[in-house]
């Protein structure tokens, strides 16, 4: 059976080799001052077009809920999808090798650079920019909720509760995922069932 998604991925931009995957991830990682999260959506969705916003949200949900660095998890998943285990390892290596060499070189040459007032100031400035970039990724992805089976109203309510729980009440992530995540998944499960019933009813 050929699924719609297979046809869609066949004609879409994709990494054309292991080395393309490795260097793309390296380039992505090296743009990530103050964390790679701020640039990952821009590069993978808007520049490379390997994923749509909807697919990015879905993959990000998996990368986020599993333990480990989120961007590393995402790179691994994408690599695996195109080239199997070798792709996963190439993407992982791309994400880590050159950034590791750079951070060690910085540590070896300027062990005290992070304590200089100028460096501290620059770090603070980049931190504020990074915070804005990450929040902007969230805002851009809100559009992906339009097609969600839970309907926009329920999505907005869940998003608002999650934001308050994490940002204002500072409840640990694990609890938020457990309580709000299970509730959301149960509701989505129910809605998917309702949709399937309607589709069955329509064909009879």
């Amino acid at each position: 059976m050929i699924l719609d998604t297979d046809i869609a991925t066949a004609t879409r931009p994709r990494p054309n080799s292991l080395s393309d995957l490795f260097w793309s991830m390296t380039k992505l990682a090296l743009q990530g001052f103050g964390g790679v999260l701020a640039v990952v959506q821009r590069v993978l969705v808007e520049e490379k077009r390997w994923l749509t916003n909807e697919e990015f949200v879905e993959d990000w949900a998996v990368a986020q809920i599993l333990p480990g660095p989120n961007v590393v998890n995402l790179a691994l998943m994408i690599g695996d999808r195109y080239f199997g285990v070798r792709g996963a390892l190439a993407a992982l290596a791309g994400m880590l090798v050159f950034p590791l060499l750079i951070v060690l070189a910085v540590a070896a040459l300027f062990a005290t650079v992070a304590d200089l007032p100028v460096a501290k100031g620059a770090l603070k400035g980049m931190g504020a920019v990074s915070a804005g970039l990450i929040a902007a990724v969230g805002l851009k992805l809100v559009g992906a909720l339009k097609t969600n089976v839970m309907t926009v109203g329920v999505c907005v309510a869940l998003a608002a509760m999650t934001f308050v729980a994490i940002a204002i009440l500072r409840i640990p992530l694990a609890w938020v995922l457990l309580v709000l995540g299970s509730a959301a998944m149960a509701w989505a499960y129910r809605q998917l069932g309702v949709l399937a019933d309607q589709a069955d009813g329509g064909t009879q």
Partner: protein, 198 residues
């Protein structure tokens, strides 16, 4: 600081980080308090200032934030091998120190992600898998916005920190609504910060 670490110590270092790997939902940084307890308070392998500079250096450098773990290993290796002025043995010890906690923090979580994500992708038409992805979508989107909020609200002195908030807000709007290259924004942020303007 000169340490004398046995093979058992290194193995303990590895297993400690391998255990934290499986607990690191939301990124390795969420387990930093426990790493601090282990490395600084209990084992005395790192000084307080070495520990904090690992985190700030990894943030200043490009790349995933998990590399702060590599720097912790690097510093433990330096402390154990006599430092870089001890020559090749000092460097070799530092590089060995990088490998031990990095393999520990990476192997369990990446293996789990690989297996779970592959299963999820192969079964992406299952109702339960679709429910997971559809249900989690609004939550992970809110988590991104909340992460931005938490990062900036570490600066909570309204009279002194308002330029930082303004900078973050302007960047958010620019990235949301335009295609401006992100490195320009990071460069401007670094410059404003270095000049002491934010």
């Amino acid at each position: 600081m000169i340490l004398n670490l046995s093979a058992a110590d290194w193995f303990g270092f590895f297993t400690q980080f391998a255990m934290l790997s499986l607990l690191s939902v939301g990124g390795a940084i969420t387990t930093a308090p426990d790493m601090h307890r282990y490395l600084v308070t209990e084992q005395h392998w790192l000084t307080e200032s070495q520990f904090t500079s690992c985190i700030s250096l990894a943030q200043a450098a490009p790349g995933p934030n998990v590399l702060f773990v590599a720097l912790m290993g690097w510093n433990v290796g330096l402390n154990a091998g006599g430092g870089l002025h001890a020559g090749w043995t000092g460097l070799a010890m530092a590089l060995f120190g990088v490998l031990v906690p990095m393999l520990g923090i990476m192997i369990p979580s990446t293996t789990l992600t690989f297996v779970a994500a592959r299963w999820g992708h192969q079964n992406r038409e299952l109702r339960i898998v679709r429910a997971f992805k559809q249900g989690m979508a609004p939550i992970v989107i809110a988590l991104l916005i909340a992460t931005g909020w938490l990062l900036i609200s570490a600066n909570n002195n309204a009279t002194k920190d308002w330029p930082l908030w303004l900078l973050g807000l302007v960047c958010m709007l620019l990235v949301w609504k335009t295609k401006i290259h992100l490195l320009w924004l990071l460069g401007v942020g670094a410059l404003l910060g270095a000049l002491g303007l934010v």
